[in-house]
Subunit: 358 residues, 2 copies
Amino acid sequence: MSRYWSDLARTIVPYVAGEQPTGRTYIKLNTNENPYPPSPRVIDAIKSAANERLRLYPDPECRELRTAIAHYYDLSIDEVFVGNSSDEVLAFALPAFFNPGSPILLPDVTYTFYPTIAGLFRIDHKTVPLSADFTIPVEGFFRENGGIIIPNPNAPTGIYLPLDAIRSILDNNKEHVVIIDEAYIDFAGPSAARLIREYPNLLVTQTFSKSRALAGLRVGFALGQRELIQGLDRVKNCINAYTLDRLALAGAAAAMRDRAYFEETTAKIKHTRERVAARLREIGFIITSSQANFVFISHPKVPAGALLRQLREKGILVRYFNAPRIDNYLRVSIGTDEEMDVFLKAIEELVAGKQQSS
Amino acid sequence: MSRYWSDLARTIVPYVAGEQPTGRTYIKLNTNENPYPPSPRVIDAIKSAANERLRLYPDPECRELRTAIAHYYDLSIDEVFVGNSSDEVLAFALPAFFNPGSPILLPDVTYTFYPTIAGLFRIDHKTVPLSADFTIPVEGFFRENGGIIIPNPNAPTGIYLPLDAIRSILDNNKEHVVIIDEAYIDFAGPSAARLIREYPNLLVTQTFSKSRALAGLRVGFALGQRELIQGLDRVKNCINAYTLDRLALAGAAAAMRDRAYFEETTAKIKHTRERVAARLREIGFIITSSQANFVFISHPKVPAGALLRQLREKGILVRYFNAPRIDNYLRVSIGTDEEMDVFLKAIEELVAGKQQSS
């Protein structure tokens, strides 16, 4: 605490991201990165853009990248906003669409970054409790609110809400913006992007950090009708006229255009996820039906906190959230098949050892 | 305007950056970019970083880059904050250090981005009028305030305030944070970075977009005592835990380490500036004693608006601000000697033609 901090700086609760270790090499299953490298075309595009034109500002309208995204989703460029990560896009969306004094609704178990941004912009929020099985109860969002944010699939449960359910939430909420955060959508069912032309208050956000294997490039985007995109632009242009550098713009556009590579690596991760989930069930884990690039697991006999520490000792990082309802769960990112075999062997030993000793 | 925009989104006044033309090739003297390419070591560092590790999040603490900056300024890494452009750093600093209801002070002629950010965070501001010769009157900042922002050199005048004057402002303002925005400092006198250990409320911001020739890479930084840097971190972690991608981190660190290249290109730009300023005076322009990488000029007989359009027709972009006191001025970035010769020839013809016809 400093005497020079503003009242706001004293009260906000900054988000704490998963550990990015230096030094020892871990099997990193803690921040939902893609275990496969980005498309070789991404690397080529970045190397081509690493030239003397770096002395010039990038295109503030990011036309090449927005065109590539619009093409992928069969939308127009006016319906695409891009930013430095989907977190940043969300951080612009909250002040663009929500008002202090008019609380927004969030699931009670969800991405903890939402209340963090809301706090920065003095926007109140209320939570809607997940059902006992961690699914999102659609009817919980049929009450007065100043806006809604739902991740689909939800984090950290990984549970996917079918588009019928999203449609039902939208049909019951026409007055305020509904944000569907689809950070993990490519590992799950169809995107709500196809509902955008029907619902002028629907904003869909996505990221290049997961399915596009570019967490290190910092690119996210939002899809919505033109007036929503213009609202995001207004806030962006109060913070930073050029949020994406020339290299990120070139790399992300190349990633979006290489559909074959994206589909191949995404399918591999989904296949590994199902194999890992089946094995974890066999050795006694409770596991949500995650459709993300992670599994969310709990063991009835071995505390999650103990597993977290013991896995770390074995050189494997996973994520633990010390929060109500989920404090006996671990979120485990899906790595390569080889990495997951090491993980499974380690956790099998830990569970067997624990059960033996108890 | 959209029914879905928040009250804030309706009222903010987004910043409008200088034009980034596509299509026709212009001599671009409108956004203060560096006419020389970045150091070859920057390009090498970026190409090395364009590898499969882009699938992983970058270092959220940006240690390599902060170490390079700390080394350059003989500070500790705890006294350095980095962000995606100095605009973003400033956008984090305002809510970190200033409070709504406690107006901050700005020069009346200055970088128009400051009131824009202040508006987003509902922070009021008051202006201190520049003297008739556009210098900053130090005593104007000796009155009650909730904080101060002064660019040094000031924009768009380019006038540099000696460190004695900065020290005097700091000595008279110990209660709130004083931000010195040094976007153009490398073309002028010494940086206020050397005052940081003396003044716990001094925050100095800088950018890689001008003297480091990396406008396309989006990197800025702040220097200040540790508690101020921590305050910036708190706000950053409410918006985006990783604002700098792996390529920007690698490129900027390489730029900061290549001191010889930086000193050579900066000296060339200063030399060209003095030559251009002398010639502009000869042909009748009023010109501030700019110590930035631009000149700020006005002609008693030829309106700035007319010159702006006619230069554009000749393929030369410069910047015009339709604002009180400066609406007959043009800001002209310093390009290469060859570019400035084309500019001088063009403007000489325009001025001669106008004087002949009048």
